[in-house]
């Protein structure tokens, strides 16, 4: 199966459980499991080739200019991790089906789980570090959803936030590190980066890149000092803990360190950073784990400790240690996931996870006891289980490592950590299952059904099989993975008996010491309780609290809620930047001849400037200022017309009409006057700002108009190719629908969104208490005696078909003459608005059968479909085509796909304008005012009620 499909399957499959949950929980879990199984089979089909040492690849250039390619590759390491993710995922899906209760939204759970799974598979399969970063962030996000799955629990929400903060911050640093790394190597493809070890390690940027990447890995894999988030993430449902926080997500950091091992490891910096952090984490996690009473906390800190162990092994930088790390990744996943599921079973059956309340469960739950016993012994490193094998290899590697010249330090600390590891593992057995049977369990425990015990049992079987026959069950995959990590052929021959090696003595010391420590548990506990220890959560909360306070202080200091103040600050700042740019630049001499001033433009100038100044002067009288602004708009339109821009003139004048109608409608509900509020000082300030801004804008455009272009303009191309390439004489229209069609497509989409926002605001407002107030409002001045004057009704109805005709004419000629979809849409909208105005909202709405949303959507779709049509010709999106056809008795005429695109523009503009106006007019609706019979001149009609009701 193609690697693309394997990576995509979980994402695609995430839809199924969300939908199928309606068909029941079994359908949801079966579909989830089915998708995972399919991906797993697809993966295993590729396994033989990978085990032979081949690398399976699938490449697709996505954004090659950015170095972002959808490249996937499957080597030994990827195969190991992908098998763990999908295999354990399958067991977890089965387990979760029986673990979650009836009240939990299981469809949601499985969808999140599949999203997470897809992100993880993406990380381990992708061959491009930019793509890897995307998947990396996706795992943080999806794990946030999963940890906080029980939204009603405050611990769940806090744990989810903490995990997201820590791993998200790590992700940010990782982005920085990866970008530096890609910059050094000159490529963002992993396979290329991995071949440039010398180049990367010689670069002065090696240290920052390494530190940033390691920060991300440490945060993800809960390494000291970021280890604290993992135990808090245990608020998640147990299947999540077993999956994310033992087997997969926390191993993403390890995966990346292993992946980058060939290029990043081997330096002192790597050794001291990774080795030391791993060592500290291993010891610290093991010690804390022993003194945790919550089963899941114990396992969480034990996970922290084991992750530290693997990190330490990778940090050593030797080949043998890397092989041990890879082997331990497998072993840890098997025994830890099964132990988490085991803890879930105990929680499920006894309704508690507190070790102090448990004990003696072996009598009641023999099967659970057996599974827990084997897994815990493996975790302790007791032969013949798999944990023993890799722990032995770890001790062996530690015995040969000296830290800054101190030969005994690493081995001693490794034994110390292993000793605590033995103690907490045995405590899990002794304090939970052994001892006397109690009679005060919160519930009556017994062994669960196979749905809950079978998944951990499969893992426990692996624990035993790998322990007994490592060469059959582990060697092929470990060899393949370790070869991928180290970059050359690795020989791996694990055995239970290696002879009397130092590692064996260390192991024996750890086991004996662990048993003694557990026997003296009370005393050890007392010592521990008296030790001063920093509470990581409190520190974290304090840091977050301080940051929040700082952010709030800054925000509230700057944002006092006064929009005018923001606007003033913004304007002054913009003016300052403008002044700086002007001051630091050079203004060349005037090179462009100016046009002479003739009387007509002078008159127009007086009208435009005069009306605008009057709007400002009389802005307190709102109706008057609205009339005056109409004059300004008209003059702008005439300016366009005079200065050779007929298309703009047409658009401006039709937009002006709808804008004024819109403002008039709104003014109906707003106060009619603006009170005098500003102090003289404040007005002076505002005048100063506006005058400076006006001078700046005017001066800038004057300077631009009187100087020639510094560089050749692209307009020549448009003029030359408008007819040849676009088939139209109107260059502006061809630019809109053809050259810059993508822009126009964006514009109509934005316009449609704006109209839908207006509709949404209307719905929200009319759904609130405002509606009652609107219905009972009294008009602010007496209404006209005749709300629907006969003359106007008749005139608008006669004009409607003519107006549509004009719209159609403007539309069709648009490609060659001034006009086009924008103007036609506006004209057609005005034709309909006239009906609303003359005949009333009720009358017009009743005759409006197509919903305007649909028209907007249709417009955008038509435009998109036209654009996509080009694909079928093998051309990029929105490439247009045109031709000429002859119909009998008609002149030859042109058919262009651009006209279809323009139809989309027309529909979107038409629908958007009308939706906006229709929404606004719904505010005006009052019972009795809106007549369904606006032309009450029909003598056959008896009821005159509507007429009488009008005019109050």
């Amino acid at each position: 199966m193609s690697l693309f499909l394997i990576a995509a399957l979980p994402f695609l499959g995430a839809v199924f459980p969300a939908l199928l949950i309606r068909a029941g929980r079994n359908a949801a879990s079966l579909s989830t499991g089915g998708v995972t199984l399919l991906a797993l089979i697809g993966l295993l089909v590729n396994a033989p080739a990978v085990l032979r040492g081949e690398v399976v690849t699938a490449r697709l250039d996505w954004l090659p200019d950015l170095g972002l390619n959808a490249n996937f590759q499957l080597d030994g390491l990827g195969l190991l991790f992908a098998t763990l993710i999908l295999g354990i995922g399958l067991l977890i899906i089965a387990y979760a089906r029986f673990y979650l209760s009836r009240e939990d939204p299981m469809g949601q759970f499985y969808s999140y789980l599949l999203l997470f799974q897809g992100a993880m598979v993406g990380i381990v399969l992708c061959d491009n570090i930019l793509l890897l970063l995307i998947f990396w962030e996706l795992t943080s996000l999806s794990s946030f959803l999963l940890i906080g799955f029980w939204k009603h629990l405050p611990e769940g929400r806090q744990g989810a936030r903490m995990a997201l903060t820590v791993t998200g911050a790590g992700g940010l640093s990782m982005i920085g590190g990866m970008l530096i790394l890609g910059h050094i190597a000159g490529s963002y493809d992993l396979s290329v980066i991995l071949q440039h070890k010398d180049l990367i390690q010689a670069s002065p940027l090696y240290a920052p890149a390494l530190i940033l990447i390691l920060l991300g890995c440490f945060a993800k894999s809960a390494q000291f000092p970021f280890h604290f988030w993992l135990p808090h993430a245990m608020a998640a449902p147990t299947p999540v803990s077993a999956y994310l926080h033992s087997a997969t997500m926390v191993k993403a950091g390890l995966f990346l360190m292993a992946r980058m091992w060939p290029v990043l490891s081997g330096t002192d910096l790597w050794f001291y950073l990774v080795g030391s952090v791993g060592l500290i984490t291993m010891v610290l996690g093991a010690v804390i784990a022993l003194f945790k009473d919550d089963l899941k906390s114990l396992l969480a800190f034990s996970t922290v400790s084991h992750l530290g162990l693997i990190t330490m092994l990778l940090g050593f930088g030797t080949e043998a240690a890397a092989v041990a790390a890879v082997f331990h990744i497998i072993n840890h996943a098997t025994f830890k996931a099964s132990l988490f599921m085991n803890a879930g079973i105990i929680d499920h059956e006894t309704h508690t996870r507190d070790i102090k309340l448990l004990g003696g469960l072996r009598h009641l739950m023999p099967l659970t006891f057996t599974l827990a016993g084997i897994a815990a012994l493996s975790m302790a490193g007791i032969p013949p289980f798999n944990g023993f094998l890799s722990k032995e290899m770890m001790l062996e590697a530690a015995a040969h490592t000296d830290w800054a010249g101190v030969a005994w330090l690493v081995p001693a600390l490794a034994v110390f950590g292993a000793l605590f590891s033995v103690a907490y593992s045995l405590r899990y057995i002794a304090h939970v299952f052994l001892g006397k049977k109690r009679h005060d369990y919160p519930s009556h425990p017994h062994d669960p059904g196979p749905g809950l015990w079978l998944p951990p049992a499969i893992l426990v079987a692996l624990v035993v099989l790998i322990g007994l026959f490592p060469n059959v069950f582990a060697t092929p995959i470990v060899t393949a993975a370790a070869t991928a990590v180290t970059g050359h052929e690795v020989h791996f021959h694990p055995a239970l008996w290696h002879g009397l090696t130092p590692a064996l003595y260390m192991s024996i010391a750890a086991v004996l010491g662990g048993i003694l420590l557990l026997l003296a548990y009370r005393g050890a506990r007392a010592v521990w309780n008296n030790l001063p220890r920093p509470e990581a959560k409190a520190i974290f909360d304090a840091i977050i609290g301080a940051v929040t306070t700082l952010a709030r202080g800054i925000t509230q200091g700057l944002h006092n809620g006064s929009l005018t103040r923001y606007a003033a600050i913004f304007l002054v700042f913009t003016l300052a930047i403008g002044w700086y740019a002007f001051d630091s630049g050079v203004l060349g001499p005037q090179t462009h001849a100016t046009l002479p001033i003739t009387p007509m433009p002078l008159l127009g100038w007086f009208c435009l400037v005069g009306s605008a100044l009057c709007v400002v002067a009389f802005h307190r009288n709102r109706l008057l200022s609205l009339v005056l602004i109409g004059v300004s708009g008209l003059m702008v339109s005439l300016t366009f017309s005079y200065l050779s821009a007929p298309d703009l003139a047409l658009t401006q004048i039709s937009v002006e009409v709808v804008t004024i109608i819109l403002l008039l409608l709104a003014l109906n509900f707003l106060p009619q006057d603006t009170p005098k509020e500003s102090s003289p000082m404040r007005r002076t300030r505002d005048i100063a700002i506006s005058v400076v801004a006006g001078l700046g804008m005017g001066g800038l455009i004057y300077a631009m108009m009187t100087r020639d272009f510094a560089m050749p303009s692209i307009s020549e191309y448009h003029l030359a190719n408008s007819y040849k390439g676009g088939g139209g004489h109107n260059v502006v229209n061809v630019t809109l629908v053809d050259f810059r069609g993508f822009d126009t497509f964006g514009e109509i989409t934005v316009l449609g969104i704006a109209a839908i926002i207006i509709f949404a605001i209307t719905e929200a407002t009319l759904g609130s208490r405002v509606r009652a107030r609107l219905l009972n409002r009294k008009p602010w001045k007496p209404l006209a005696g005749d709300a629907h004057p006969l003359m106007m009704v008749v005139a608008t109805r006669v004009m409607m078909p003519i107006a549509f005709m004009v719209a159609a004419y403007i539309f069709f000629r648009g490609h060659n003459m001034p006009g086009g979809g924008f103007v036609a849409g506006l004209v057609a909208a005005i034709a309909v608005i006239m009906q609303y105005m003359a005949s009333g909202f009720g009358w017009a709405a009743e005759r409006q059968r197509l919903p305007y949303h649909g028209i907007i959507g249709m417009g955008v779709l038509v435009a998109a479909a036209t654009g996509m049509g080009a694909w079928f010709n093998g051309k990029p999106f929105l490439t247009s085509d045109y031709g000429y056809i002859h119909l009998p008795y008609l002149e030859k005429f042109e058919v262009a796909t651009a006209a279809l695109f323009d139809l989309g523009v027309f529909l979107a503009v038409w629908g958007a304008v009308l939706l906006a106006l229709q929404s606004l007019s719904r505010f005006a609706w009052q019972p009795g005012i809106a007549s369904t019979h606006p032309m009450d001149i029909n003598p056959e009609r008896e009821d005159d009620d509507t007429n009488e009701n009008e005019g109050h």
Binding site: S562, G633, T639, I687, I689, G694, P818
Partner: protein, 113 residues
């Protein structure tokens, strides 16, 4: 001619900005409209001024003015309608809900009252 257009742009800008700095919604919306006139004229004028040279290909044309600013301004006009409409609806529903059309959120009347 250029000085006329430039001065008109300047005056419209000044008027628009003065209105935007008022404290009630309606003048601010009018100010935005006037400012969009100014900005549209500004953009249009970056293509230089030309008389009787519309960018419509024809055999009799003596020359063509710059079509690109026109195409940009055309969509800008339509978009500014959309913007005006959205701002207006927000102002209207805010006024209907709060019975107050001040744009500042502070409790006291205006910034310096």
């Amino acid at each position: 001619m250029e000085i006329l257009l430039a001065s008109a742009v300047g005056i419209l800008t000044a008027g628009g900005i003065y209105l935007i700095l008022r404290q009630r919604t309606f003048p601010v919306i009018l100010g935005l409209s006037i400012l969009s006139y100014a900005v549209n004229l500004f953009l249009f004028a970056t293509g230089r001024l030309a008389l009787n040279q519309p960018p419509i290909l024809s055999e009799h044309a003596t020359g063509y003015t710059d079509p690109i600013p026109q195409a940009l301004v055309l969509t800008a006009i339509v978009i500014s309608f959309g913007m005006t409409a959205v701002v207006l609806m927000m102002a209207l529903s805010a006024y209907l809900a709060a019975r107050d059309d001040r744009i500042d959120m502070s409790d006291d009347k205006g910034e310096d009252a």
